[in-house]
Amino acid sequence: MNTQDKVKINKLPTGVPGLDEIVGGGLPEFSFNIIAGAPGSGKTTLAHQFVFANAAPERPALYFTVLGESAIKMLRYQQQYTFFDPAKLPDAIRFINLSQVVLEKDLGAVLEEITKEVEKANPAVVVVDSFRTMVRKPQSDMDLQSFIQRLALFLASWQATTFLIGEYAEDELRDNPIFTVADGLFWLRQTAERNSIVRKLQIIKLRGQDSVPGLHTFRITDAGVQAFSRTFGLTARKRNPASNRRLCFGVPELDKMLDGGVREGDSVLVAGSSGTGKSVLATQFIAEGIRHGEPGIVAVFEERPEAYAERATSLGLDLETPQKDGQLTILYLRPLDLSVDETMQSILDAVQKIGAKRLVIDSLAGFEMALSPGFRADFRESLYRMIFALTGIGVTILSTVEVDESFTEFPFSTYSISFLTDDIIRLRYVSIDGQLRKIMVVIKMRGGNHAKDVREYEITSKGVVILGKRLTNYQGLISGIPVHSDRPGMPEEPSLDTGIEHKT
């Protein structure tokens, strides 16, 4: 069969930010869907968002309420959401209460009542809330199965996209006829993890469409449900081909060590202990980008944007003007109970809004601390997904990470994330000639030459400044306690690697 012979399934907007991406572009038109989950998990709100996004007077939405929450109370609360438009009631959205017929009659009568209303209104959307209360009365499995099949067939033939809402526990998933008949099955979960509530959504089933698998975080705010795709909405975007363009730090000697700068689209890790100048280097990196017309984002967790910009001013770097010009956004992300996906979505939104080419995450430790405890376990995995997604579209990411200073080892990160990074720059203190001085070394640069030199640097009013030539008169510099040797000085130019990739 030709592609052109195949039926085209229209995709309807879900009205839920982030959910269209998760369901593969929108909800299949005329599909018969279940929204399941425990009380308070957001089922009704999700259905309302879909209804408000799709209902129109000429093809209205019929919202059948059964036992449980009264429509009056439901609307009292639902109208607090920003998506709620009272003007849509009652022409575009009609609430119909079925409790009497459910209480007094059987499922046949319920179907008859729904049929009557659907034939009268010719709706585009039908919701039954809560379907579970409708079928709780004792009846045979055959009655129930027959009812569901007839309802699904009837509503599909009337070209209605349907949602049945029900309170289901996960162990009811098996052998339940309703789940067999459904085209789409949306499962909402809400769990308490330490002091935080974690909400997750799973598309267990969606016929005819390629939905994003896995558990997706969602949040309910005054705007309703907002979902955060595990792929951050970037699955559909093609990865940019690898670029050979180099991005400078604006620290001439460091840029030389990096053979001209880091490669565009790389993930760079700057690791060092407290006070070694990681944030200073990151600020220079972002400022240098802006100087070259590359918009940037700085995600800060440990200080406020004003303080960050002020500190840049003390280094002679102006971050105020580019913020006003839309070339720079400093994001302060410290809400403490956010999910990792939500936090990353804020970064992604900012990146996409200004077309950022450089992103600084300062720091990974602060980032982790800003997350709800329940999400910290997912931190590495989520970080990996975000870095993969962003670098794939050509954004160069510089993350700072604090490492404990050790005089017996030379760690790069406490997160075991060096595999996520293309380039690693390590800063550390060394004890030399009775002074605590600072050295810098490029540990790794994927797919490129870099200097193997250990260079001393200082933090001055101009930022990080690399001093003189490489340190040749010391042995064991990276131990932090070098031993002075009497070897003569070496040439000043940094020696580049001979193309051998450093594995860490």
Binding site: T65, S70, A71, I72, K73, L75, R76, Q79, P86, A87, L89, P90, D91, R94, F95, I96, N97, S99, Q100
Partner: protein, 151 residues
Amino acid sequence: MTAAPGMRDLASRLLAYEAVAAKSSEPMESPTLRVYEKVRTNLTAFAGVSAFESLAFRALMQAKSEAPELWAVQVAAGGSLQGLGEFEPQIEMDKDLAGEFPGDDGGIILIARLLGLLRLFLGEALTLSLLRNTWPGEVFDDRNSVHGRKA
């Protein structure tokens, strides 16, 4: 506490509208009952019999404290109203009914209380949206109000 002026005004206009319509009905119906029944039909379909019964019962209790002549009125099963004929006087249909309802305050107060509860729970916008589905737009036009108040 008395029914909110805005709600009294709206109730008055709805009753005035129904009084005109009632003129042609045989036997002539009570305008209060006509308004009440329309609200009942609308709300029962929308929110269910039980929800309407609860609201109507509460509205009647409030109205009775303000209009003792409603003492004989009861909310029956299903939310229908009984005993209304006991108090509602014969309306002089020759009067100009385009403005305020000329009948007794009891009917206005009862409907105003019912609409007031709806407004309390659903807000003004949604309450008016639901009523607009039942009555023509001009009933809600402030220019048709004697007081010119907003409902």
